[in-house]
Structure formats: structure tokens, C-alpha cells
């Protein structure tokens, strides 16, 4: 029990100390504080690079187990591992600027990704007819606003009537601005609250414990 407490307390102390130091650096301009703060931030950039690698390692372990035990879908896992390893090896050995890497990216990954997202266009078109209903006042206002902004964004809007861009701009610059401003301020206040909880050690979820 004592060991578990230490395993949670030590990371929390390190987290709080680093966080407070960076806040102090923002408030007070002093060379030693600045240099330590910059070093901490550069270390976190390096650690962030390792987390990218961690994702690849976790994926490899998961699919590797599937392949070894020949679970259902192990064939797809094999293809995934083959593509992952070949991209990794080509990227490391030949570098991402090499034509072979660009060939793999633009002739495999890019068309598959853009094709998958392009399907959304057809689903949205179908949903526009089958699902977007003016069931109540709120839904009607939402639909009308959406149509006005669409006519603002597409050049054909101004061809149909020269007033559409001005109305679309009003929707963006008045009601949208007001709503988004409220959301941004709300998110900022929430972030400050969460940050204070994390730095003061109340947010135990980060080290495996429950929050208070």
C-alpha cells in the first residue's frame, strides 16, 4: 500500500513542480528560471516523440499476438504489420524525403484516406434529403442558417442573388461570433480549473488513482 502511495505521490510532485516552474517563468523574467523552463519544454517535446513510437509499439504487440495465435482477422493484421514495418524501414533507412517513401505515401496512404473521407459527401447528400427535418423552431433556425452560410461559401450564391454573401457574413459575424466566443471563454475557464486541480494534486486520474 505504501509502495502504491509512493508511486502516485512521486510523479504528482514532479508534475506539480514542473508546472509551477513554467507558470513562474511566464510571470517573472529571470534568466535561470527561463533557461530551466525552456529545458523542461524541450524535454517534453522529446518525450512527445516517444509517445508516437509508443503507439506503433502498442499496435504491433496487439496485432502480433493476433497473428501468432491466428485469431479471427489475423490476415488483416498481417497486412497491417507488413505495411507498418515497410513504411518504418523505408522512412528510417531512406528518410521521408526519398522518392520511395513519397511513392508509398501518395500511391497507397493518400488515395485510401481521401477516398474514405470522400464517401462523406454522398452520406451528407443523402442525409440532407432524408434526415434534415424542420421538426421544431430550433431545427428550422439551424437549417435556415446552414443554407445561408452554404450560399455564402459557394460562388453560385452570389450568382443567384447578390445579397446572399452579406447575409451569410452577418450569420458568421454576429450570432456565430457570440456563440463561439462564449464557448472559447467557457473552455478557457474549464482549462484553468482543471490545471489548478492537476497541479495541486487533486486530479489523481493521471497516476492511476480516482479523482476527488
Amino acid at each position: 500500500m505504501g509502495e502504491i502511495k509512493m508511486r502516485r505521490k512521486v510523479p504528482m510532485v514532479i508534475l506539480s513542480a514542473a508546472g509551477v516552474w513554467i507558470i513562474i517563468d511566464y510571470l517573472i523574467s529571470y534568466p535561470v528560471i527561463q533557461q530551466v523552463s525552456l529545458t523542461l519544454r524541450n524535454w517534453s517535446v522529446i518525450i512527445a516523440g516517444f509517445t508516437l513510437m509508443l503507439g506503433a509499439i502498442s499496435t504491433s504487440i496487439l496485432h502480433g499476438k493476433k497473428i501468432i495465435s491466428k485469431e479471427q482477422g489475423w490476415g488483416y493484421s498481417s497486412i497491417l504489420m507488413l505495411v507498418l514495418l515497410s513504411t518504418l524501414i523505408i522512412g528510417i533507412v531512406l528518410t521521408p524525403t526519398h522518392p520511395a517513401y513519397e511513392f508509398l505515401y501518395f500511391n497507397a496512404f493518400f488515395p485510401m484516406t481521401t477516398t474514405t473521407y470522400s464517401l462523406l459527401c454522398f452520406f451528407i447528400a443523402s442525409a440532407a434529403y432524408r434526415a434534415f427535418r424542420t421538426r421544431n423552431v430550433d431545427a428550422t433556425i439551424l437549417l435556415v442558417s446552414a443554407i445561408l452560410v452554404m450560399l455564402r461559401n459557394a460562388p453560385i450564391g452570389q450568382v443567384i442573388w447578390s445579397g446572399f454573401p452579406a447575409i451569410g457574413d452577418w450569420v458568421m459575424l454576429v450570432p456565430n461570433l457570440a456563440g463561439k466566443r462564449g464557448i472559447i471563454i467557457g473552455v478557457a475557464l474549464g482549462s484553468i480549473y482543471t490545471g489548478i486541480r492537476v497541479l495541486s494534486g487533486y486530479e489523481k486520474g493521471l497516476t492511476g488513482g480516482g479523482g476527488e
Binding site: 525552456l38 524541450n42 517535446v45 512527445a48 516523440g49 473521407y117 461559401n153 466566443r181
Partner: protein
């Protein structure tokens, strides 16, 4: 046509969408593209920057955002080169972005400019907000080498560029993460900022323009097409506009027809 049949079988809508997507690409219509004030503000701001200004072109998008954001990157790079800016390429949000930095440079053509003197590519740094914060405070401590492995001290252009204080503008073309850029770079260092964003994300960025934190925004492929028209470099965004116009119109008509069908059914019941 019985509208209820369309509700039961969406393939009719899929077919119409497919036709409207494909035909204008093969047979362009040439629907005129009026220039909006919001895009012209971006152009006017960049025009106020003197020759030799240090400008960051932050390319931070992946494959899913390419149709909307790649034309913006190319148009902004064209304009920056016309103005003889010192250009610093960097990516601080999306790990796919370096490949699009290369693609943008190839598309526009950098043969008349010298690497290390007129432009530098620092590549991608992970860590999002942390990388942004480090970049803004001390570029040389974050980026000891450029994207191609050259030590940063050997790049003449970087001798006078050490932090965000040395930047005259940051052109941020990103699929997401704009808020963090504003928090970590623009506001603490008061860097003049331009957004390049997808149409769907633009609504969330308008408050930053209204508050004066950003000088302007290029919204989606329409904004890119307008920018291409302003600088006289017609490109891929302009080619998309006929398709965008027709498909948007189709969706609006589909919404109206769908609600007419709904109200008719409601009346019958």
C-alpha cells in the same frame, strides 16, 4: 417523381451527387468567383509587409485536409515569394505535414530561390503546445537541425531569427489546433497572425479576428480560389469551385425537397 421513393432508395441521390461531382471537372462551367472582404483583408495585410520580412508558413495538415488547405498553402507561398520574404517552413501540429511542405515547394517552384538564404524548412516537432511554446521562445534550442539534417548555425537566414520576436508574420494553415497556436505563440509574443482553415473550422476562428488577435482568414477552398484570383495564379482551388457550387446547390435543394415531402406526409397522416 414520387419523393417517398427517394427516401427509401438513396442511390438516386448518390447518382445525382456523382454526376455533379464528375461532370464539372471534365467540362468546367466557369461560375464567377467574387472576392470577399475577408480574403482581401489577408492579401492587404501581406501587402503591407516590407520586402525581406521574416514570415513563417506553418503547414499543419494531413491527407484528409489536402483538398481544402493545399491550395491555400500554394497561394500564400506564391504571394510570399512575389514579395521576396524570408520564409521559414515549420510544422508544429500534424506529423504528416512535412510531406506537404515539400509538395507545396515543388508545386510553386523554388528554383529561383536559395535554400538557407531565402527559405528554410525546419520540418515537424512533436508536442503540440509544448513545441509551439519552445519554438516561440528559442528556435535554435528547439531546432538544432533543419528538416534535411543541416545544423541550424550553417543556415545564414537563421542567424537573425532566434525567437517569435523576430517574426513579421505567421501564416498558419492548419486542419486544427488553431487555439493552441494563438495561446502559445500569437498572444504572448504579439505575432501578426493569418489563419488558413477548413470551411467547417472557420466559424470557430472568427472571434480571434474580431478581437484583433488575427489579421484575417482564408476560408476553405473558396478562400483559396479567391486568393488565387487576387494574386493572378489560378490553381486547383479555382478548379474545385464549379463542383462546390453545384453540390452545395444540390444539398440545399435536397433539404428543401426533403422537408416538403416530410410536411406532405405529416399532412396526410
Amino acid at each position: 417523381m414520387d419523393l417517398r421513393k427517394v427516401s427509401k432508395d438513396p442511390r438516386i441521390i448518390y447518382l445525382i451527387t456523382f454526376i455533379l461531382l464528375g461532370v464539372p471537372v471534365l467540362y468546367p462551367i466557369g461560375i464567377p468567383i467574387p472576392i470577399s472582404d475577408i480574403t482581401r483583408d489577408v492579401y492587404n495585410f501581406i501587402e503591407t509587409l516590407p520586402e525581406g520580412s521574416v514570415v513563417v508558413i506553418g503547414i499543419d495538415y494531413g491527407a484528409v485536409s489536402v483538398p481544402e488547405l493545399q491550395p491555400q498553402s500554394e497561394a500564400l507561398l506564391e504571394h510570399a515569394l512575389m514579395k521576396n520574404f524570408k520564409i521559414l517552413f515549420i510544422s508544429l501540429w500534424n506529423f504528416e505535414a512535412p510531406i506537404y511542405i515539400e509538395r507545396t515547394m515543388k508545386a510553386v517552384g523554388m528554383d529561383d530561390y536559395e535554400y538557407g538564404i531565402d527559405y528554410v524548412n525546419l520540418g515537424y516537432f512533436p508536442g503540440e503546445g509544448r513545441a509551439m511554446s519552445s519554438f516561440a521562445e528559442d528556435i535554435h534550442q528547439l531546432a538544432k537541425y533543419d528538416y534535411y539534417g543541416t545544423p541550424i548555425e550553417q543556415l545564414q537566414m537563421m542567424n537573425d531569427i532566434t525567437s517569435a520576436h523576430d517574426l513579421n508574420a505567421y501564416l498558419s494553415i492548419a486542419g486544427s489546433g488553431h487555439g493552441q497556436f494563438i495561446n502559445m505563440i500569437q498572444t504572448p509574443y504579439n505575432v501578426p497572425w493569418i489563419f488558413g482553415s477548413e470551411a467547417v473550422a472557420a466559424t470557430g476562428l472568427i472571434p480571434y479576428i474580431a478581437s484583433g488577435q488575427a489579421e484575417g482568414i482564408i476560408i476553405g477552398p473558396r478562400g483559396a480560389a479567391e486568393y488565387e484570383a487576387i494574386i493572378g495564379a489560378i490553381g486547383s482551388a479555382t478548379a474545385q469551385m464549379d463542383v462546390q457550387s453545384l453540390v452545395h446547390l444540390m444539398i440545399i435543394i435536397a433539404v428543401i425537397l426533403g422537408n416538403i415531402s416530410y410536411l406532405m406526409n405529416k399532412g396526410e397522416n
